[in-house]
């Protein structure tokens, strides 16, 4: 089926099967490969993007269900008010292997959008993404740094 998506400020068209998750439309149809595949069952958060301003796990969300809600991916984060997170990520040298970090950043951006000055506990509750390299302490520091900026 033909679908139309509004991604990172642009209207994009794709012709995919109705059940295709947003993740694979982003990666395979729109070449936005910053969003990662990690589990396919919404457990790890590597595929986190924003749909209608909320953090969602795009591996289980059919693209056809997105409708007219705007989609923001890691490639579009720099154009949002939460772009300072990316600088904080570099300043705190958060990433190790980096595979989970697009999802981490998008989860963090959604948090800051609704809670610009999060407490440590807010971060603990909001960031449920998996990181195998163990960057969590630095993820938290970078979020606090961005919030303080």
């Amino acid at each position: 089926m033909k679908i139309e998506l509004f991604v990172n400020g642009q209207t994009c068209a794709a012709d995919v099967e109705a059940d295709t998750p947003l993740l694979w439309v982003l990666r395979e149809e729109l070449a936005l490969t910053g969003t990662k595949f990690g589990c396919g069952i919404a457990q790890c958060g590597a595929c986190t993007v924003h749909v209608g301003g909320q953090a969602v796990r795009s591996c289980v969300l059919p693209a056809a269900a997105v409708g007219s809600q705007p989609v923001t991916t890691i490639e579009g984060l720099a154009a949002t008010p939460q772009a300072r997170l990316q600088q904080a990520w570099i300043e705190e040298q958060v990433s190790q292997c980096g595979y989970c970090q697009s999802g981490m950043l998008m989860a963090a951006a959604a948090l800051l959008k609704f809670r610009p000055k999060p407490s440590s506990k807010d971060i603990d509750e909001a960031i449920t993404n998996l990181c195998r390299c163990g960057t969590y302490p630095r993820v938290k520091r970078a979020i606090l740094r961005a919030a303080a900026a």
């Binding site: 995919v16 099967e17 059940d19 295709t20 998750p21 694979w24 990666r27 395979e28 936005l32 490969t33 910053g34 969003t35 990662k36 595949f37 990690g38 589990c39 396919g40 069952i41 457990q43 790890c44 590597a46 991916t73 890691i74 490639e75 984060l77 720099a78 990316q86 600088q87 990520w89 570099i90 040298q93 958060v94 990433s95 190790q96 292997c97 980096g98 595979y99 989970c100 970090q101 697009s102 950043l105 971060i123 603990d124 509750e125 960031i127 449920t128 993404n129 998996l130 990181c131 195998r132 390299c133 163990g134 960057t135 969590y136 302490p137 630095r138 993820v139 938290k140």
Partner: protein, 735 residues
């Protein structure tokens, strides 16, 4: 790991006449380094020293190319999988060369003998070897290129080379104030012979070494542009299709048929359904199409001969071997005065099977053609993949080129194995097109080569005051090294990786004995961050703690006494105790545990603080003191050690792979969980130096002390000794 010693194997490692031609690039921004993959590999000789390549660049050596535009391209032989090696190794070379960091560009090494680990003569990334084995080489190749630039500069300026200095990317004649840029000298420098034994700079001239260099990969990993294996498609590759695979649920199981084959083949985008010896693959125009079609396929599997394998049987087998052996005595040091006497004490420790669960699932892109095979993959084992693919497809190894994707989404040992590369190549051959194979998480967990379960029985003889006189241990473990090092001869009953930590100790004990049983099981097992050191030192450091408590001694002071002769060890242990506030009173329900290890040539002590409420355990604080000899980059070292401790928290608290009906039970992160941010303690990491000792690795030592320090802390808090992990086995839960 041992060096390859099998003659037939060595004979097959022929020189690979494939060059590292350059195209394209992955702009990483920041203060510059750029990673370029050798996308196009021509059948020409490697860029010989002195040869002009393209774009006016000159290969000063195999490792360094200098452009007329003054860029310095450094070849990156080691896979970047988070350990920061793509920053640290080029920084070493840059320092020696005298280039400015902003001039440096990075290019990934193809599989070629020039880029092998110089100690093991084999191209791979693992075993905490990247810094240990490449430190000298990077400095030497940097110094050699510098010397060649100085010789060229001396000619052009008509002065003696010793009157020149290389600094900030220029060759400078201080006496006259004249200078030439590296770019201006590259062409003539490349004509000079490569000095065999160049002189290294004194430490006082090094600007990057020992300092925190901003990671070159940080910007690309913050904006989503970093190219992992799963993302990477070589520019210009035509006809690429994608594959999803499902293997039999049990070891040795086989697919018999796909009941609804016509319906699956008729699904959108499906190119082929390929029967593999162990499973079924669907190849389609898009990965989602392949994945969805595979999910709809009604595959009939035939159970293999291990279908009755389960965890209870495995456990019984381990216990039987621990009791009965046979054992190979791999170490037996006894005092000349005869066997030590004293009261015996014995304890048995048990660890479970665990999966690597790299966040990026296994994947590979293969293109099999009549003229050769190209593999692009996120691999730690470039050279093994090359030979494995050649063997599986029955072609000459020199027709296979394995190229690494710019980044690996975690490695931890799993990506040393070539299985995913081989499978992609088989599929490409089957469909006659380039194939990108991506494993589902389910496939990734089912087909892991697990950290094996191990069983450790430790026995001590102690004197009247409880002091340790002699220690003997029995270890039961399947192989760890064989799958990543096929020439290993297991007929001797010894696996060197499984023995790590059992052959030597820094503790002073009069008698030390290790007996090993190499277990044969159908479950694939191999290297996993911390390899043998992790399980073996979990046993030892738990046991030492038990001995201390039996002696009514403080566990820190008990260790201190055993290390009284060892200045370096004492410094690390004392610093950890001091930083942790050892001995300071803790709240009710809280406990502090310590562990001391020497692994991968790094000496490390860790203090873990826990608080316990009912069955809920909170890790409050982890204090780490590490001495790797020389700290090359304190920030990267700190991050690696901290990440290692987090790795260990997942291992001790969460994941366990169990078996039933011949295969693994856990399928995805809902039943193979990892720790998350909310479970993090406070981390404090302190680094020490010891001049003149062997350089220690820091990638794998991080997790080694955490599990024993944790169980020792839990004992201090509760009086309950956990001799098996993960925590769930004892009814505890990490919060």
């Amino acid at each position: 790991m041992n060096a390859p010693h099998d003659k037939a194997w060595v004979g097959r490692r022929q020189f690979l006449a494939l060059g590292a031609a350059v195209t394209g690039g992955f702009a990483l921004g920041w203060a510059a380094p750029v990673v370029a993959a050798p996308d196009r590999v021509d059948n020409k000789q490697p860029a010989a020293a002195g040869a002009a390549i393209e774009g006016g660049a000159f290969a000063v050596t195999d490792w360094v190319r200098i452009g007329a535009d003054n860029t310095v391209t450094v070849i990156l032989s080691q896979a970047e999988m988070g350990q920061g090696i793509s920053t640290t190794l080029p920084a070493l070379l840059c320092d020696e060369l005298g280039a400015d960091w902003s001039q440096i560009r990075l290019e990934l090494a193809p599989t070629a003998t020039a880029y092998r680990n110089p100690r093991l003569q084999w191209q791979f990334t693992g075993n905490s070897e990247s810094v240990q084995s490449f430190y000298d080489l990077m400095r030497q190749v940097g110094a050699a290129a510098r010397q060649m630039l100085l010789s060229a500069g001396a000619e052009q300026l008509a002065v003696v080379p010793t009157s020149l200095a290389a600094q900030g990317g220029r060759v400078i004649h201080a006496a006259s104030g004249r200078s030439l840029s590296f770019g201006e000298l590259a062409a003539s420098a490349a004509q000079h012979p490569v000095p065999a034994a160049p002189t290294l700079r004194p430490d006082s001239e090094l600007r990057l070494l020992g300092n925190a260099v901003p990671r070159v990969d940080a910007p690309a990993k913050a904006d989503g542009s970093a190219q992992f294996g799963i993302d990477y498609i070589p520019p210009g590759l035509q006809g690429l299709v994608f594959a999803a695979v499902k293997s039999a649920p049990d070891y040795g199981g086989k697919p018999l048929a796909v009941k609804n084959l016509p319906a699956i083949k008729a699904r959108p985008g499906v190119v082929a359904v390929v029967m593999l010896p162990h499973g079924v693959a669907v190849v389609a125009q898009k990965y989602w199409q392949a994945r969805a079609a595979l999910a709809a396929a009604e595959i009939v599997f035939e159970a293999g001969r291990h279908a009755d394998l389960n965890s209870a049987r495995l456990k019984a087998l381990y216990r039987e071997k621990l009791a009965q052996g046979p054992f190979k005595t791999v170490k037996d040091v006894q005092p000349s005065s005869g066997p030590v006497q004293g009261a015996p004490f014995e304890a048995t420790y048990e660890l479970c099977f665990q999966a690597h669960a790299t966040l990026e699932p296994m994947n590979a892109l293969a293109h099999v053609t009549a003229s050769g095979i190209h593999i692009w993959a996120p691999t730690q084992g470039q050279e093994l993949a090359k030979f494995a693919v050649a063997a599986a497809l029955n072609v000459q190894p020199q027709t296979v080129q394995v190229l690494r994707s710019p980044f690996l989404g975690g490695g931890f040992g799993r990506r040393l194995l070539p299985d995913f590369c081989v499978e992609a190549a088989l599929l490409s051959r089957a469909v006659g097109r380039p194939v990108k194979l991506i494993w589902s998480r389910e496939e990734d967990l089912r087909r892991d080569f697990y950290r094996p379960a191990t069983l450790h029985r430790l026995q001590a003889r102690v004197d009247g005051a409880g002091r340790l006189l002699g220690l003997s241990q029995r270890v039961v473990s399947p192989t760890i090294l064989k799958p990543v090092f096929p020439p290993l001869d297991l007929s001797s009953g010894v696996d060197p990786s499984a023995l790590e930590g059992t052959l030597h100790t820094r503790y002073r004990v009069a008698a030390w004995r290790t007996d090993f049983h190499l277990l044969q099981i159908p479950v694939p097992t191999s290297v996993y961050r911390s390899t043998g050191y992790g399980p073996n030192l979990f046993g030892l450091e738990s046991f030492i703690d038990e001995l201390a408590h039996r002696a009514k001694a403080d566990p820190y002071r008990y260790r201190r006494e055993l290390l009284a002769h060892d200045e370096r060890a004492l410094r690390v242990l004392d610093e950890a105790a001091r930083r942790a506030g050892w001995g300071r009173k803790l709240a009710r329900g809280a406990g502090r545990g310590i562990a001391f290890v020497d692994a991968f040539d790094t000496v490390l002590a860790q203090v873990v603080e826990v608080s316990v409420r009912g069955q809920q355990v909170k890790v409050e604080r982890i204090v780490t003191v590490a001495d790797p000899g020389r700290v090359l980059d304190p920030a990267i070292t700190d991050a690696g050690l901290e990440g290692g401790a987090v790795w260990a928290l997942s291992a001790l608290a969460k994941g366990e792979i169990t078996f039933d009906k011949g295969g693994p039970v856990q399928t995805n992160f809902h039943d193979y969980d990892l720790v998350r941010l909310r479970e993090m303690p406070r981390f404090e990491t302190h680094l020490l130096h010891t001049p003149g000792v062997k350089l220690g690795g820091v990638g794998e030592v991080g997790p080694v002390a955490t599990a024993p320090a944790f169980v020792n802390a839990l004992f201090a808090a509760t009086g309950q000794r956990l001799r098996t992990l993960p925590l769930a086995r004892s009814g505890y839960q990490l919060v």
